[in-house]
Amino acid sequence: MSPARRHRWTAAAFLAPALLVLCTLVAYPIGYTVWLSLHSPDGSRFVGVANYVEMFTAPDTRRALTNNAIWVVVAPTVVTVLGLMFAVLTERVRLVNAFRLALFMPMAISFLAAGVTFRLVYDEDPNRGMLNAAIVAVHDSFSPPSPYPGATVREGSGLVASDDGTITTGVPVTAGEPASLPLVGLPVDALPAAAEPARPPAAGPGIRGVVWRDFLRGGAGRAGLVDPGELGLPGVVVQVVRSGEVVAETRTDASGQFAVPELAGGGYSVRLAAGNFTEPFRGLTWLGPGLVTPAIIGSYIWVWAGFAMVVISAGLASIPREAVESARVDGATEWQVLRLVTIPLVRPVTVVVAVTLGINVLKIFDLVLVLAPEPAQAEANVLGLEQYHASFTQLNAGLGSALAVLLFTLVLPGMAWRARVLRRHQVVP
């Protein structure tokens, strides 16, 4: 037997297992899926393009299409830009390896594990969820939380709680006659440690009064009067108003007393500012309506940024040093070097990264299934998830297959583009 003939037989034998598997489990199923997509849910009736029409019109699938479009535009862009930034950063820092390890590590774990991880990160309760805890901490350091959230007026006390959150005295206040501002609705242990027992307002010059918690454990105590053991509310912002104008502003002391001695006459009202009582900022509902898709994309970015960084780093390393050096010698600033020399030279690599991620993102499934809580699943829907539900929850093989064919079709342009790149680099004949 000639060597060429011998080669043929050996080749056939070597290729047989692979071809057998690929023909039965990949090639034939693709054809079968196309067939299924043109038939009724149980496969008994030819329905033409009805499944495709349903796919583009039914609200669930349209939601999935829209979300997939968002995913494909946002995720690859953000990941590539971050990857480029991190790659440039790693060019010029110590401990590069620790940085790269930290960023690349999420590539090793499953989307399920990433989903579990980010369920913890995105927990809505700022006492448990890391992200909301961080946001609340930052928010509160700029605008401190109000001291008495939820405080309300006692009925029959003569105070008026307005819709804008302020609490105002109902009858005019006159200088020399102390005003009583009893509040309720504060949790038993919610007062500042500095709070001292309230004293009945003493007579004296100007507008004065007391703001206190008109409540004793067990319901003892008289409504609207300062009883022994009731605590004053320190630090309440008190505004004195006359004909709609704020004429003075002060704060209560440790026993809830306030006084503006220089005011005389009558017709004032005492107003407690809304800022005293606003509910505290609790962060955002990450995995609820409106934010669920961006939140899931965030966790995807966490998984894939390391990939983009490593590929783009390799691209940076292959940039000729002379190009960068000569730009520096010519007096370009680091920023100019980056913008005018480095980035243009590394652009082909970033395009490869973005297209690769685009193909990957189209097929996203696990992360959405795991990370979106049950009530938000519909809102976070993507094609991969809808394909799974149509096929295995609703048992609609026709619609499921149409969605699969759509996914396949969407991947094709990326595949063709990649084939061209590979061919240009002679990786494939």
């Binding site: 489990l25 693709i30 090793a108 448990r128 890391m130 494939v428």
Partner: protein, 305 residues
């Protein structure tokens, strides 16, 4: 591509002194310095952002469900008394989780070994054997790399039903092998092509059959490529959820499937999900740290899937 520095030192003729750019002025140097500090801070912040989620899961898995529902994992850093191995000990009594971990091994090991073996034979044929239509066949196989698994799951579910392997570990393995092969063939064929032709010709002239050339010459030289492929395929299968959901029944299901079942009541099951997810991560992370180089190669090569 590795984590080893890729900087190449510049070559210059002996006896010459490098001429750099002129020494920048004080203002510029100060700006560079400050820029350097800013960069360091940014890098540290980014590292923290990337490490904290995983750290959070690790710490949460070491806290009781009560602690986890009362406060965030970071409180345990100030109060190490919260940390306990109870959850992990309880997991040892949790048959579902233990069996699913074992199933993951039962699925992943054969699915990886088969892909490497079948892929290596096919890759060799495409690299070094002459037959008509070889290049054309290779291009078709490469095109199959990006085929989404969704396009084949329904027909295969029916086919496996007919073959009696639907719901079994065997069905899951078969599906993973099919979808792992195109990449395997692509990677190995390209690597085999880089081996020196003379080496193969010499072995052939010595009278070795193609099988002998493949087994005694090509495979021993292809360690890195086989390792990269094996690591990628291993991770791909280990981390899979979709294929398991479709093709495995609950008693044959891998850990991803079992944990997914617990997710409906996330907060109350956190004492199972936390340690379970962390255990499922340890194997990939060990592979990652032990075989960093091959790992990066494998992941980069497989990223197109």
């Amino acid at each position: 591509m590795t984590f080893v520095s890729t900087r190449v030192p510049q070559l210059r003729p002996a006896g010459t002194v490098p001429v750099g750019p002129p020494r920048p002025g004080l203002g510029r140097r100060l700006a560079t310095r400050l820029g350097g500090i800013t960069t360091q801070v940014v890098v540290m912040a980014v590292t923290a952002v990337w490490v904290f989620p995983t750290l959070g899961l690790a710490v949460a898995s070491l806290r009781s469900a009560t602690d986890n529902s009362a406060s965030g994992w970071w409180t345990a850093l100030a109060e190490p008394r919260q940390l306990t191995f109870e959850n992990y000990l309880a997991l040892l009594d949790n048959e579902t989780i233990l069996r699913s971990l074992w199933n993951t091994v039962l699925i992943t090991v054969p699915a990886t070994a088969l892909v490497v073996a079948i892929g290596a034979f096919a890759g060799y044929a495409l690299a070094w054997l002459d037959f008509p239509g070889r290049d054309w066949l290779f291009v078709v196989l490469v095109a199959l790399i990006v085929v989404p698994v969704q396009v084949a799951i329904l027909p295969n579910a029916r086919l496996f039903g007919l073959l009696g392997i639907y719901g079994n570990v065997a069905g899951v393995i078969a599906f993973h092998v099919a979808f792992g092969l195109p990449l395997a063939v692509f990677l190995l064929r390209n690597f085999f092509r880089t081996l020196p032709r003379e080496l193969l010709e010499a072995a052939r002239l010595d009278g070795g059959s193609e099988l002998a050339v493949f087994g005694r010459v090509v495979l021993p030289l292809s360690g890195p490529a086989l390792a990269s492929l094996a690591i990628f395929q291993f991770l791909w299968v280990w981390n899979d959820l979709l294929v398991a959901l479709v093709f495995a029944t609950s008693e044959n299901a891998p850990i991803t499937y079992a944990l997914r079942g617990q997710m409906r009541a996330f907060s109350s099951n956190i004492d199972v999900i936390g340690p379970g997810a962390f255990l499922s991560m340890t194997v990939p992370l060990l592979v990652f740290f032990a075989f960093q180089r091959y790992f990066v190669h494998g992941v980069l090569a497989g990223s197109t899937k």
